[in-house]
């Protein structure tokens, strides 16, 4: 008969009641097949929230499901969520609330403009107020609140990556003054070992190009965008206020960021709070303008087959697809190949909207990680290198390369690392 189940059931693998072992099938409870009530309590509660209104606009065309990256690896998407809400799902206390990575692919295709980027933070904020937050996410939010970064590392250690690194970097917290480029380094470039590799590459590239840049040093804090999407509006506002004050205190021509999430925050979200427009660029945009200069400086080649993963927050959220490709194609010897799902259709790495800190919960509701699905695609197009330009991605994809048994077949590199490798020494 195969595995088809005519009736869903729930059961606990391990259960002992009054000393009697009732594990597994002994405690099985059948979920009734019949829909016996249409309870709109929680649907109404969602649509009554500021930001939650459009959840009620779904007319079930299902275009979203066709592009939802989570549905590829599980069974989830805006239309399905809407239907569950119609039969009484309490989304405020349910794992489905935390599966959305806010990758924006659904909104791209939704004829009714059902906007998960508004709905998710609005509902999650209520869940947080009710104390219904997955533990792993709660830990991250506490870290950001206490230490200013998701890892829970001390702010004092934010510049530790510069130890034993003999490139000049102006730390504006120690040497204040005007700079052309204020480089917002971001959490993963500051603390994560593979992020630090990319941060160092960035410094070398900046210095080769003669960029007049400075960093905020120990004062820099998390941009807060992912925390905002997790529903932590208050925390986001605090971080925005903090970082905004630093931007004001440190005169600069432009703000250059390593992280598309920070780019989104500074470009689209901070101005709503501060009333200030920031002259912000993602580093690929900043460097793409200097492609000619870079091309004249390359001394080495990168003779490998490379594909590129569009970060959701650079691509779909902010429409930048060309800058990273301009840089990749400028690298001597590179053999660039697109994945099947690229640019607007790009697949999500799973890290956005809090997904970065929800791997445990997500694993319970999906058969593989989004990053694993993506890595398989990179291998399918014959790539030897998966190029990225979002600090969340290197670690996610490196883990996925291992777990999909592609170790040694696919290397994950930030674009800045590829550029750096071709510039050689001074």
């Amino acid at each position: 008969m195969g595995d088809h189940r005519y009736q869903e059931y729930v059961e606990k693998d391990d259960a002992v009641i009054d000393g009697i072992d009732v594990s597994g099938a002994w405690n099985r409870m059948w979920v009734p097949r019949e829909v016996t009530e249409y309870d709109f309590t929680f649907l109404d509660r969602v649509t009554d929230l500021s930001g939650g209104e459009s959840m009620g606009w779904c007319y079930e065309c299902a275009e979203c499901i066709g592009v939802c990256p989570v549905d590829n690896v599980g069974s989830y998407g805006p239309r399905k969520l809407y239907r569950k809400l119609q039969i009484g799902l309490d989304l405020f206390d349910h794992p489905d609330l935390w599966l959305c990575t806010t990758c924006r692919n659904c909104l791209r295709v939704c004829p009714k403009e059902v906007d998960m980027m508004q709905i998710m933070p609005a509902v999650r904020e209520q869940a947080i107020l009710n104390g219904n937050v997955p533990g792993e996410l709660q830990e991250m939010l506490q870290n950001v609140a206490e230490y200013g970064n998701p890892m829970g590392e001390s702010a004092r250690k934010r510049m530790r990556w510069l130890k034993k690194f003999d490139e000049p970097v102006r730390d504006l917290s120690k040497e204040p003054g005007e700079v052309d480029v204020l480089w917002y380094v971001s959490d993963y470039f500051s603390y994560h070992p593979r992020g630090i590799d990319a941060a160092k590459a960035m410094v070398r590239v900046f210095n080769r190009l003669g960029v007049d840049f400075g960093v905020l040093g120990r004062n820099e804090r998390c941009d807060g965008d992912s925390q905002r999407l997790c529903g932590e509006t208050g925390l986001f506002e605090e971080l925005a206020e903090h970082n905004h004050a630093l931007f004001e205190q440190n005169p600069h021509e432009r703000l250059v960021v390593s992280d598309p999430h920070a780019y989104n925050a500074f470009k689209n979200e901070y101005p709503k709070l501060t009333g200030t427009e920031y002259n912000v660029q993602h580093y690929t945009q900043f460097l793409a303008e200097k492609t000619e200069q870079l091309a004249g400086m390359f001394t080495g080649e990168f003779p490998r087959k490379v594909t590129f993963h569009d970060p959701c927050y650079l691509g779909r959220h902010n429409g930048e697809y060309e800058a990273p490709r301009t840089l990749i194609e400028a690298v001597p010897g590179i053999d660039f190949v697109e994945m099947f799902r690229c640019k607007e259709q790009g697949y999500c790495c799973g890290g956005g909207g809090g997904g970065m800190w929800l791997d445990g919960l997500t694993a319970d509701h999906t058969f593989e990680r989004l990053s694993e699905n993506r890595v398989r695609e990179a291998v399918d197009v014959g790539a030897e290198v998966l190029a990225v330009c979002c600090p969340y991605e290197v670690s996610r994809f490196e883990d996925a390369v291992k777990s999909t048994d592609n170790d040694g077949k696919l290397e994950v590199l930030d674009i800045i690392e590829i550029l750096d490798s071709c510039l050689g020494d001074d």
Binding site: V35, Y38, F40, E53, G56, Y59, E60, R79, R83, Q86
Partner: protein
């Protein structure tokens, strides 16, 4: 001269618009209506408001009636039926009977605008229980309540807490021989759903449908408005049967997008009944030898490009006598039929050239 006189049969929206066109073009009009008042089904069936504009039916129809009755070229015959037709256009002699008296009227052309009748859900009584259960009603029954400004559960007189519509009752059904979509029921059900929600904000309103047919502007005027502003729920999957559970009616079907059986108690079930050719339409088709098209409505000759001309010279059709029609269709056809009828008698009068 009889050739200058045109008869319109039926005083509903299509007939009234045809009549207005005829007098506006300066031709004599005889408007025949078997009921004792003009306004057609919207008035006789007590529609509360018209779809999709939601204008009060009496106000809207009075405007149409006044445009005709105040014209000196109009001869209006209420409570009258046609019992005999002799000759061919432009020399038709038509016998009108009113009460005990009869009269032969000579006309040059005719517009048949005899409309539709509501599908009788008794034909499906074993499935939806319209004649068995007080709380199973039709769109028309609901209109009557809404017109009176209240919506109650018939069995108790109390306001209902949970109401559903079942779409496509009597339409799109090979077993019934009604293969057509009745065109208006999705819009009317949605309009009524909005009205019920506005009247009873605590009442859940669900529309069970096969596919919502909200063409043109009805999409956002009605469908989106109902869903987004009034929180009417649209759930795909038609109800298979209605049974009683205690004092409540139970609708049973499949919630197709969940892929699960559905059994939900309702306080009121509203059957979205479709259209069938009216008795008058069938009678006039026989009287004027008008062929019926394959669904049983009056046939037209030009397909989509001529919606009002019948195969019989000088006899035109307008509105739902020619097939399911909404108000916009009916009004448009009324105008087109008036134009073609006037053109028909005018061409006859013109000298033959060459």
């Amino acid at each position: 001269m009889s050739n200058n006189r045109i008869m319109v049969i039926g005083g509903g929206p299509a007939g009234l618009e045809a009549a207005r066109g005829i007098v506006d073009l300066g031709y004599e009009l005889v408007l025949v209506e078997q009921r004792d008042e003009l306004g057609g089904t919207p008035i006789s069936a007590s529609y509360a408001a018209l779809t999709p504009d939601m204008e009060d039916t009496e106000t809207a129809m009075a405007r149409m009636v006044d445009a005709v009755t105040n014209d000196s070229l109009a001869d209006i015959r209420l409570g009258s039926t046609i019992t005999a037709v002799e000759g061919t256009a432009p020399d038709l002699r038509i016998t009108l009977v009113k009460g005990d008296s009869s009269e032969v009227v000579e006309v040059g052309a005719v517009v048949v605008a005899t409309g539709f009748k509501h599908f009788d859900p008794g034909k499906e009584t074993q499935r939806y229980g319209y004649y068995e259960y007080d709380d199973v009603i039709t769109l028309v029954d609901a209109e009557k309540m809404l017109k009176a400004g209240k919506f109650i559960r018939p069995s108790t007189g109390e306001p209902p807490k949970q109401v559903c519509f079942i779409q496509c009752v009597g339409s799109r059904d090979r077993q019934l021989g009604n293969k057509w979509c009745s065109k208006v029921c999705c819009g009317i059900a949605t309009k009524e759903a909005i009205e019920i929600r506005q009247l009873l904000p605590d009442c859940k309103v669900i529309v069970f449908y096969i596919d919502m047919r909200m063409y043109g502007f009805w999409e956002d005027q009605l469908y989106w408005k109902a869903q987004e502003e009034e929180k009417v729920a649209f759930i795909r999957g038609i109800v298979s049967e209605v049974t009683m559970r205690g004092d409540s009616v139970m609708v049973k079907g499949e919630d197709t997008t969940m892929g699960r059986p559905m059994e939900v108690l309702m306080d009121v079930v509203i059957l979205s009944i479709g259209m069938e050719p009216s008795d008058g339409t069938i009678a006039m088709a026989e009287m004027f030898n008008l062929p019926l098209e394959c669904h049983g409505w009056i046939e037209t000759v030009g397909g989509a490009l001529n919606t009002v001309q019948t195969p019989v010279d000088g006899v035109f059709v307008a509105g739902a006598a020619a097939g399911p029609a909404d108000l916009e269709d009916s009004i448009s056809m009324g105008g087109a039929a008036a134009l073609k009828a006037c053109a028909f008698v005018r061409r006859i009068q013109l000298p033959v050239v060459g």
